[in-house]
Protein backbone atom coordinates (compact mmCIF):
# COMPACT_ATOMS: atom_id res chain seq x y z
CA UNK A 1 0.00 0.00 0.00
CA UNK A 2 1.38 3.38 -1.01
CA UNK A 3 1.58 6.05 1.64
CA UNK A 4 -1.36 8.40 1.32
CA UNK A 5 -0.81 11.69 -0.44
CA UNK A 6 -3.69 14.02 0.37
CA UNK A 7 -3.94 16.98 -2.00
CA UNK A 8 -7.59 17.92 -1.63
CA UNK A 9 -7.28 20.58 1.05
CA UNK A 10 -9.77 22.86 -0.66
CA UNK A 11 -12.42 20.24 0.12
CA UNK A 12 -11.38 19.73 3.73
CA UNK A 13 -8.19 19.58 5.76
CA UNK A 14 -6.92 17.05 8.28
CA UNK A 15 -7.16 18.36 11.80
CA UNK A 16 -3.97 19.81 13.29
CA UNK A 17 -2.82 17.68 16.27
CA UNK A 18 -2.53 20.86 18.36
CA UNK A 19 -6.17 21.65 17.58
CA UNK A 20 -7.16 18.12 18.51
CA UNK A 21 -5.24 18.34 21.76
CA UNK A 22 -7.00 21.59 22.64
CA UNK A 23 -10.38 20.02 21.84
CA UNK A 24 -9.48 16.98 23.95
CA UNK A 25 -8.78 19.32 26.84
CA UNK A 26 -12.37 20.55 26.50
CA UNK A 27 -13.88 17.09 26.05
CA UNK A 28 -12.05 15.87 29.15
CA UNK A 29 -12.51 18.84 31.44
CA UNK A 30 -15.40 21.01 30.33
CA UNK A 31 -18.69 19.18 30.52
CA UNK A 32 -21.25 21.91 31.12
CA UNK A 33 -23.81 23.32 28.75
CA UNK A 34 -22.51 26.84 28.00
CA UNK A 35 -25.98 28.23 28.64
CA UNK A 36 -26.11 26.80 32.16
CA UNK A 37 -25.51 29.14 35.06
CA UNK A 38 -23.65 26.74 37.32
CA UNK A 39 -19.87 26.66 37.45
CA UNK A 40 -19.60 23.87 34.86
CA UNK A 41 -21.72 25.85 32.43
CA UNK A 42 -19.82 29.04 33.11
CA UNK A 43 -16.53 27.27 32.42
CA UNK A 44 -17.83 26.25 28.99
CA UNK A 45 -19.17 29.74 28.36
CA UNK A 46 -15.80 31.24 29.27
CA UNK A 47 -14.01 28.97 26.76
CA UNK A 48 -16.47 30.05 24.08
CA UNK A 49 -16.14 33.75 24.81
CA UNK A 50 -12.34 33.55 24.82
CA UNK A 51 -12.52 31.81 21.44
CA UNK A 52 -14.95 34.45 20.17
CA UNK A 53 -12.51 37.20 21.18
CA UNK A 54 -9.69 35.44 19.36
CA UNK A 55 -11.71 34.94 16.21
CA UNK A 56 -12.96 38.51 16.23
CA UNK A 57 -9.37 39.74 16.24
CA UNK A 58 -8.65 37.65 13.14
CA UNK A 59 -11.74 39.07 11.42
CA UNK A 60 -11.16 42.66 12.58
CA UNK A 61 -14.59 42.89 14.17
CA UNK A 62 -16.15 43.15 17.61
CA UNK A 63 -16.66 39.83 19.38
CA UNK A 64 -20.34 40.75 19.71
CA UNK A 65 -20.63 40.64 15.93
CA UNK A 66 -19.67 36.96 15.72
CA UNK A 67 -22.08 34.08 15.64
CA UNK A 68 -21.13 30.41 15.81
CA UNK A 69 -22.95 28.04 13.46
CA UNK A 70 -22.43 24.48 12.23
CA UNK A 71 -21.07 25.09 8.73
CA UNK A 72 -20.32 27.63 6.05
CA UNK A 73 -23.47 26.44 4.30
CA UNK A 74 -25.57 27.23 7.36
CA UNK A 75 -24.00 30.68 7.65
CA UNK A 76 -24.64 31.45 3.98
CA UNK A 77 -28.23 30.24 4.26
CA UNK A 78 -28.79 32.36 7.36
CA UNK A 79 -27.63 35.52 5.62
CA UNK A 80 -29.65 35.03 2.45
CA UNK A 81 -32.79 33.47 3.92
CA UNK A 82 -32.68 35.59 7.05
CA UNK A 83 -32.38 38.85 5.21
CA UNK A 84 -34.19 38.62 1.88
CA UNK A 85 -37.93 38.72 1.48
CA UNK A 86 -40.33 38.83 -1.47
CA UNK A 87 -39.55 41.84 -3.65
CA UNK A 88 -35.98 42.25 -2.38
CA UNK A 89 -33.11 42.11 -4.87
CA UNK A 90 -29.92 40.08 -4.52
CA UNK A 91 -26.79 40.36 -6.64
CA UNK A 92 -24.44 37.41 -6.55
CA UNK A 93 -22.08 35.75 -9.04
CA UNK A 94 -22.33 32.77 -11.34
CA UNK A 95 -19.43 30.99 -9.65
CA UNK A 96 -20.53 31.04 -6.02
CA UNK A 97 -20.63 27.95 -3.85
CA UNK A 98 -23.86 25.91 -4.16
CA UNK A 99 -24.88 27.04 -0.67
CA UNK A 100 -25.35 30.50 -2.19
CA UNK A 101 -26.59 29.50 -5.64
CA UNK A 102 -29.14 26.91 -4.47
CA UNK A 103 -30.40 29.26 -1.76
CA UNK A 104 -30.70 32.09 -4.28
CA UNK A 105 -32.68 29.78 -6.59
CA UNK A 106 -35.01 28.83 -3.76
CA UNK A 107 -35.49 32.49 -2.85
CA UNK A 108 -36.31 33.34 -6.47
CA UNK A 109 -39.26 30.95 -6.17
CA UNK A 110 -40.41 33.01 -3.18
CA UNK A 111 -40.33 36.25 -5.14
CA UNK A 112 -36.81 37.47 -4.43
CA UNK A 113 -35.17 39.02 -7.49
CA UNK A 114 -31.69 37.71 -8.24
CA UNK A 115 -29.00 38.79 -10.67
CA UNK A 116 -25.97 36.59 -11.29
CA UNK A 117 -22.85 38.55 -12.22
CA UNK A 118 -20.70 36.93 -14.90
CA UNK A 119 -16.95 36.50 -14.50
CA UNK A 120 -14.02 36.92 -16.89
CA UNK A 121 -11.77 34.05 -17.99
CA UNK A 122 -9.85 34.24 -14.73
CA UNK A 123 -12.99 34.16 -12.61
CA UNK A 124 -13.00 37.82 -11.64
CA UNK A 125 -16.48 39.11 -11.16
CA UNK A 126 -17.79 41.82 -13.52
CA UNK A 127 -17.95 44.95 -11.34
CA UNK A 128 -19.74 46.95 -14.04
CA UNK A 129 -22.47 44.33 -14.12
CA UNK A 130 -22.89 44.73 -10.36
CA UNK A 131 -23.10 48.52 -10.68
CA UNK A 132 -25.56 48.29 -13.59
CA UNK A 133 -27.76 45.77 -11.77
CA UNK A 134 -28.26 47.87 -8.64
CA UNK A 135 -31.83 49.04 -8.12
CA UNK A 136 -33.75 50.60 -5.26
CA UNK A 137 -34.80 47.08 -4.31
CA UNK A 138 -31.24 45.76 -4.03
CA UNK A 139 -30.71 44.67 -0.45
CA UNK A 140 -27.66 42.44 -0.63
CA UNK A 141 -24.58 41.73 -2.71
CA UNK A 142 -23.09 38.30 -1.97
CA UNK A 143 -19.75 37.57 -3.62
CA UNK A 144 -17.23 35.14 -2.15
CA UNK A 145 -13.76 36.35 -1.22
CA UNK A 146 -12.20 33.50 -3.17
CA UNK A 147 -13.51 30.73 -5.35
CA UNK A 148 -13.34 27.15 -4.08
CA UNK A 149 -12.48 25.59 -7.45
CA UNK A 150 -10.12 27.97 -9.22
CA UNK A 151 -8.92 30.05 -6.28
CA UNK A 152 -9.79 33.43 -7.81
CA UNK A 153 -9.58 36.19 -5.20
CA UNK A 154 -12.40 38.61 -5.89
CA UNK A 155 -12.05 42.39 -5.47
CA UNK A 156 -14.09 42.48 -2.27
CA UNK A 157 -12.83 45.94 -1.27
CA UNK A 158 -14.22 47.41 -4.47
CA UNK A 159 -17.47 45.47 -4.10
CA UNK A 160 -17.86 46.71 -0.53
CA UNK A 161 -17.30 50.25 -1.77
CA UNK A 162 -20.02 49.83 -4.41
CA UNK A 163 -22.37 48.37 -1.81
CA UNK A 164 -21.70 51.16 0.69
CA UNK A 165 -22.16 53.88 -1.90
CA UNK A 166 -25.62 52.51 -2.69
CA UNK A 167 -26.57 51.65 0.92
CA UNK A 168 -26.65 47.95 0.08
CA UNK A 169 -25.40 45.23 2.42
CA UNK A 170 -22.41 43.11 1.43
CA UNK A 171 -21.82 39.46 2.31
CA UNK A 172 -18.72 37.50 1.47
CA UNK A 173 -18.11 33.79 1.90
CA UNK A 174 -14.48 33.58 3.01
CA UNK A 175 -14.38 29.85 3.77
CA UNK A 176 -11.65 29.18 1.21
CA UNK A 177 -9.57 32.27 1.86
CA UNK A 178 -9.74 32.68 5.64
CA UNK A 179 -6.24 32.88 7.17
CA UNK A 180 -4.62 32.39 3.74
CA UNK A 181 -4.95 36.05 2.76
CA UNK A 182 -5.96 39.20 4.62
CA UNK A 183 -9.46 38.98 6.09
CA UNK A 184 -12.11 40.78 4.03
CA UNK A 185 -14.19 43.73 5.10
CA UNK A 186 -17.94 43.18 4.77
CA UNK A 187 -21.24 43.42 6.63
CA UNK A 188 -21.44 39.61 6.72
CA UNK A 189 -18.46 37.24 6.55
CA UNK A 190 -18.65 33.44 6.53
CA UNK A 191 -15.68 31.39 7.75
CA UNK A 192 -15.31 27.69 8.47
CA UNK A 193 -12.96 25.63 10.65
CA UNK A 194 -12.45 22.51 8.59
CA UNK A 195 -10.76 24.38 5.75
CA UNK A 196 -7.97 25.51 8.08
CA UNK A 197 -7.04 22.30 9.91
CA UNK A 198 -9.83 22.80 12.42
CA UNK A 199 -12.72 20.45 13.18
CA UNK A 200 -15.73 19.69 11.00
CA UNK A 201 -19.10 20.94 12.17
CA UNK A 202 -18.18 24.43 13.25
CA UNK A 203 -18.17 27.74 11.41
CA UNK A 204 -18.74 31.40 12.18
CA UNK A 205 -20.63 34.29 10.72
CA UNK A 206 -19.74 37.91 11.25
CA UNK A 207 -22.87 40.03 11.29
CA UNK A 208 -22.50 43.78 11.51
CA UNK A 209 -24.32 44.93 14.63
CA UNK A 210 -27.83 46.22 14.15
CA UNK A 211 -28.71 44.34 10.98
CA UNK A 212 -31.96 42.45 11.56
CA UNK A 213 -31.97 38.82 10.41
CA UNK A 214 -34.71 36.24 10.71
CA UNK A 215 -33.32 33.19 12.53
CA UNK A 216 -33.56 29.92 10.64
CA UNK A 217 -33.33 27.76 13.76
CA UNK A 218 -35.68 28.49 16.63
CA UNK A 219 -35.31 27.21 20.18
CA UNK A 220 -33.31 28.26 23.18
CA UNK A 221 -32.34 31.63 21.77
CA UNK A 222 -28.58 31.15 21.80
CA UNK A 223 -26.35 33.48 19.81
CA UNK A 224 -28.45 36.62 20.18
CA UNK A 225 -31.58 34.64 19.22
CA UNK A 226 -30.16 34.23 15.75
CA UNK A 227 -29.07 30.61 16.01
CA UNK A 228 -30.65 28.42 18.62
CA UNK A 229 -28.96 25.18 19.59
CA UNK A 230 -26.47 24.21 22.28
CA UNK A 231 -23.13 25.73 21.41
CA UNK A 232 -20.42 23.31 20.31
CA UNK A 233 -17.75 24.15 22.89
CA UNK A 234 -15.00 21.78 21.65
CA UNK A 235 -15.62 22.81 18.04
CA UNK A 236 -15.53 26.51 18.84
CA UNK A 237 -12.32 26.14 20.83
CA UNK A 238 -10.90 24.07 17.96
CA UNK A 239 -11.79 26.77 15.45
CA UNK A 240 -10.06 29.43 17.54
CA UNK A 241 -6.97 27.25 17.93
CA UNK A 242 -6.84 26.58 14.18
CA UNK A 243 -6.95 30.32 13.55
CA UNK A 244 -4.19 30.88 16.09
CA UNK A 245 -1.98 28.31 14.37
CA UNK A 246 -2.56 29.68 10.88
CA UNK A 247 0.03 31.97 9.43
CA UNK A 248 0.41 33.93 6.21
CA UNK A 249 3.92 32.43 6.04
CA UNK A 250 2.25 29.13 5.12
CA UNK A 251 0.62 30.95 2.21
CA UNK A 252 3.88 31.95 0.55
CA UNK A 253 5.27 28.48 1.18
CA UNK A 254 2.25 26.85 -0.52
CA UNK A 255 2.31 29.31 -3.39
CA UNK A 256 5.98 28.68 -4.14
CA UNK A 257 5.43 24.94 -4.01
CA UNK A 258 2.38 25.06 -6.29
CA UNK A 259 4.05 27.34 -8.82
CA UNK A 260 7.18 25.17 -9.01
CA UNK A 261 5.06 22.03 -9.43
CA UNK A 262 2.96 23.55 -12.18
CA UNK A 263 5.98 24.81 -14.10
CA UNK A 264 7.48 21.33 -13.95
CA UNK A 265 4.15 19.79 -14.97
CA UNK A 266 4.01 22.01 -18.06
CA UNK A 267 7.58 21.01 -18.95
CA UNK A 268 6.93 17.30 -18.57
CA UNK A 269 3.44 16.98 -20.06
CA UNK A 270 2.27 18.65 -23.23
CA UNK A 271 -0.99 20.55 -23.36
CA UNK A 272 -1.33 21.52 -19.70
CA UNK A 273 -3.13 24.82 -19.03
CA UNK A 274 -3.83 26.68 -15.81
CA UNK A 275 -7.51 27.41 -15.11
CA UNK A 276 -8.11 30.72 -13.36
CA UNK A 277 -5.65 33.50 -12.54
CA UNK A 278 -1.86 33.26 -12.66
CA UNK A 279 0.18 32.55 -9.54
CA UNK A 280 0.54 35.38 -7.10
CA UNK A 281 -1.92 37.51 -9.00
CA UNK A 282 -5.45 37.05 -7.80
CA UNK A 283 -5.13 33.40 -6.90
CA UNK A 284 -5.35 31.68 -3.54
CA UNK A 285 -1.88 30.45 -2.59
CA UNK A 286 -2.96 26.85 -2.04
CA UNK A 287 -5.04 26.40 -5.20
CA UNK A 288 -4.02 24.73 -8.42
CA UNK A 289 -6.58 24.00 -11.11
CA UNK A 290 -5.43 22.91 -14.53
CA UNK A 291 -6.60 21.00 -17.55
CA UNK A 292 -4.75 18.44 -19.61
CA UNK A 293 -5.76 18.52 -23.27
CA UNK A 294 -7.68 15.52 -24.51
CA UNK A 295 -7.83 13.79 -21.13
CA UNK A 296 -10.82 12.69 -19.09
CA UNK A 297 -9.81 13.99 -15.68
CA UNK A 298 -12.23 11.62 -13.98
CA UNK A 299 -10.17 8.65 -15.18
CA UNK A 300 -6.98 10.20 -13.81
CA UNK A 301 -8.72 11.08 -10.56
CA UNK A 302 -9.90 7.47 -10.08
CA UNK A 303 -6.52 5.95 -10.98
CA UNK A 304 -4.75 8.31 -8.60
CA UNK A 305 -7.24 7.45 -5.87
CA UNK A 306 -6.42 3.74 -6.36
CA UNK A 307 -2.79 4.72 -5.77
CA UNK A 308 -3.69 6.66 -2.59
CA UNK A 309 -3.18 10.06 -4.17
CA UNK A 310 -6.19 12.22 -3.48
CA UNK A 311 -7.13 15.33 -5.41
CA UNK A 312 -10.31 16.44 -7.10
CA UNK A 313 -11.98 17.06 -10.42
CA UNK A 314 -13.84 20.10 -9.11
CA UNK A 315 -15.56 21.09 -5.92
CA UNK A 316 -15.95 18.34 -3.34
CA UNK A 317 -19.71 18.41 -3.71
CA UNK A 318 -19.59 18.08 -7.48
CA UNK A 319 -16.51 15.90 -7.94
CA UNK A 320 -18.56 12.72 -7.61
CA UNK A 321 -20.95 13.87 -10.34
CA UNK A 322 -20.10 13.65 -13.98
CA UNK A 323 -21.40 17.09 -14.85
CA UNK A 324 -18.90 19.77 -15.84
CA UNK A 325 -18.17 22.34 -13.18
CA UNK A 326 -20.39 25.45 -13.33
CA UNK A 327 -17.34 27.49 -12.34
CA UNK A 328 -15.18 26.29 -15.22
CA UNK A 329 -18.03 26.76 -17.69
CA UNK A 330 -18.52 30.32 -16.41
CA UNK A 331 -14.87 31.04 -17.30
CA UNK A 332 -15.73 30.19 -20.90
CA UNK A 333 -14.25 26.69 -20.95
CA UNK A 334 -16.03 24.09 -23.10
CA UNK A 335 -17.62 21.10 -21.33
CA UNK A 336 -14.75 18.93 -22.65
CA UNK A 337 -12.14 21.34 -21.29
CA UNK A 338 -13.95 21.42 -17.96
CA UNK A 339 -13.99 17.62 -17.84
CA UNK A 340 -10.23 17.60 -18.52
CA UNK A 341 -9.58 19.65 -15.37
CA UNK A 342 -8.10 18.67 -12.02
CA UNK A 343 -7.93 20.62 -8.78
CA UNK A 344 -5.15 20.36 -6.24
CA UNK A 345 -5.49 21.93 -2.82
CA UNK A 346 -2.16 22.30 -1.02
CA UNK A 347 -1.64 22.64 2.72
CA UNK A 348 1.07 23.80 5.07
CA UNK A 349 2.12 20.17 5.31
CA UNK A 350 2.39 19.45 1.57
CA UNK A 351 5.97 18.51 0.63
CA UNK A 352 7.91 18.76 -2.64
CA UNK A 353 8.34 14.96 -2.46
CA UNK A 354 4.58 14.43 -2.47
CA UNK A 355 4.21 16.66 -5.50
CA UNK A 356 7.05 14.80 -7.24
CA UNK A 357 5.20 11.53 -6.71
CA UNK A 358 2.07 13.12 -8.16
CA UNK A 359 4.03 14.42 -11.14
CA UNK A 360 5.47 10.98 -11.94
CA UNK A 361 2.04 9.39 -11.67
CA UNK A 362 0.44 12.04 -13.85
CA UNK A 363 3.12 11.57 -16.51
CA UNK A 364 2.51 7.84 -16.58
CA UNK A 365 -1.30 8.05 -16.58
CA UNK A 366 -1.54 10.80 -19.18
CA UNK A 367 0.81 8.89 -21.46
CA UNK A 368 -1.30 5.71 -21.05
CA UNK A 369 -4.57 7.54 -21.67
CA UNK A 370 -3.23 9.35 -24.70
CA UNK A 371 -2.06 6.06 -26.22
CA UNK A 372 -5.62 4.74 -25.90
CA UNK A 373 -6.98 7.61 -28.04
Amino acid sequence: MNPRIYLDHSATTPIDPEVLSEMNRIYKNISGNPSSLHKAGREASLEIEKSREQLSTALNCASEDLLFVSSGTEANNLVLQGLLQEGDHLITSKIEHPSILKTAEALQKKGVLVDYAPVDKEGLVDLDFIKRSLTKKTKLISIHQANNEIGTIEPTDEIKQIAETHSVLFHTDACQSFTKIQAPSADFITVSAHKIHGPLGIAALKIKKGIPLLPQLLGGGQERNLRSGTLNTPGIVGLAKAVKLASLDHSSQMQNLGKAFFEQLQKEIEGVHLNGPGFGKNRLPNNLNFRIEGIDAKEIFLKLSERSIFLSTGAACSSAKNTPSHVLLALGLTPDQAKASLRIGLSKWTTPDELNVLLENLKELVSLLRKKL
Binding site: S35, L37, G41, R42, S45, L46, E53
Partner: protein, 74 residues
Amino acid sequence: MIETLDLKAVPCPQNISKIIIKLELLDSGEHLEVTLDRGEPFENVCLAIKEEGHEILKTENLSEKLCKILIKKN
Protein backbone atom coordinates in the same frame (compact mmCIF):
# COMPACT_ATOMS: atom_id res chain seq x y z
CA MET B 1 -8.86 55.40 34.43
CA ILE B 2 -11.46 52.75 35.28
CA GLU B 3 -12.05 50.10 32.62
CA THR B 4 -15.68 49.78 31.52
CA LEU B 5 -17.81 47.10 29.93
CA ASP B 6 -21.25 47.45 28.38
CA LEU B 7 -23.23 44.24 28.76
CA LYS B 8 -26.72 45.50 28.03
CA ALA B 9 -28.89 42.66 26.67
CA VAL B 10 -26.03 40.13 26.94
CA PRO B 11 -27.53 36.95 28.42
CA CYS B 12 -26.21 34.86 31.31
CA PRO B 13 -23.71 33.32 31.56
CA GLN B 14 -22.18 35.04 28.52
CA ASN B 15 -22.13 38.32 30.48
CA ILE B 16 -20.20 36.63 33.30
CA SER B 17 -17.64 35.22 30.83
CA LYS B 18 -17.10 38.63 29.30
CA ILE B 19 -16.47 40.15 32.73
CA ILE B 20 -13.99 37.40 33.62
CA ILE B 21 -12.12 37.86 30.32
CA LYS B 22 -11.90 41.60 30.97
CA LEU B 23 -10.79 41.07 34.58
CA GLU B 24 -8.01 38.75 33.39
CA LEU B 25 -6.50 41.73 31.58
CA LEU B 26 -6.45 43.86 34.74
CA ASP B 27 -3.95 43.87 37.58
CA SER B 28 -5.01 42.86 41.06
CA GLY B 29 -6.68 45.80 42.79
CA GLU B 30 -7.82 47.46 39.57
CA HIS B 31 -11.49 48.31 39.05
CA LEU B 32 -13.97 47.43 36.32
CA GLU B 33 -17.29 49.22 35.84
CA VAL B 34 -19.98 47.14 34.18
CA THR B 35 -23.34 48.25 32.81
CA LEU B 36 -25.87 45.43 32.62
CA ASP B 37 -29.53 44.50 32.81
CA ARG B 38 -31.31 44.65 36.16
CA GLY B 39 -32.99 41.59 37.61
CA GLU B 40 -31.59 38.13 36.97
CA PRO B 41 -28.52 39.21 35.02
CA PHE B 42 -27.51 41.55 37.84
CA GLU B 43 -28.12 38.90 40.49
CA ASN B 44 -26.31 36.15 38.58
CA VAL B 45 -23.33 38.34 37.76
CA CYS B 46 -22.91 39.46 41.38
CA LEU B 47 -23.03 35.89 42.67
CA ALA B 48 -20.60 34.59 40.05
CA ILE B 49 -18.12 37.43 40.44
CA LYS B 50 -17.99 36.88 44.20
CA GLU B 51 -17.62 33.13 43.59
CA GLU B 52 -14.67 33.88 41.33
CA GLY B 53 -13.07 35.72 44.23
CA HIS B 54 -13.55 39.34 43.20
CA GLU B 55 -15.26 42.14 45.09
CA ILE B 56 -18.37 44.13 44.23
CA LEU B 57 -17.58 47.63 45.50
CA LYS B 58 -20.69 49.44 44.40
CA THR B 59 -24.01 48.88 42.63
CA GLU B 60 -26.26 51.55 41.18
CA ASN B 61 -29.56 51.50 39.29
CA LEU B 62 -29.36 53.59 36.15
CA SER B 63 -32.94 53.15 34.96
CA GLU B 64 -35.82 50.72 35.23
CA LYS B 65 -33.90 48.27 33.09
CA LEU B 66 -30.22 49.00 33.62
CA CYS B 67 -27.77 49.07 36.46
CA LYS B 68 -24.08 49.58 37.01
CA ILE B 69 -21.66 47.62 39.19
CA LEU B 70 -18.11 48.42 40.20
CA ILE B 71 -15.87 45.36 40.56
CA LYS B 72 -12.46 45.20 42.21
CA LYS B 73 -10.18 42.50 40.85
CA ASN B 74 -8.62 40.41 43.61
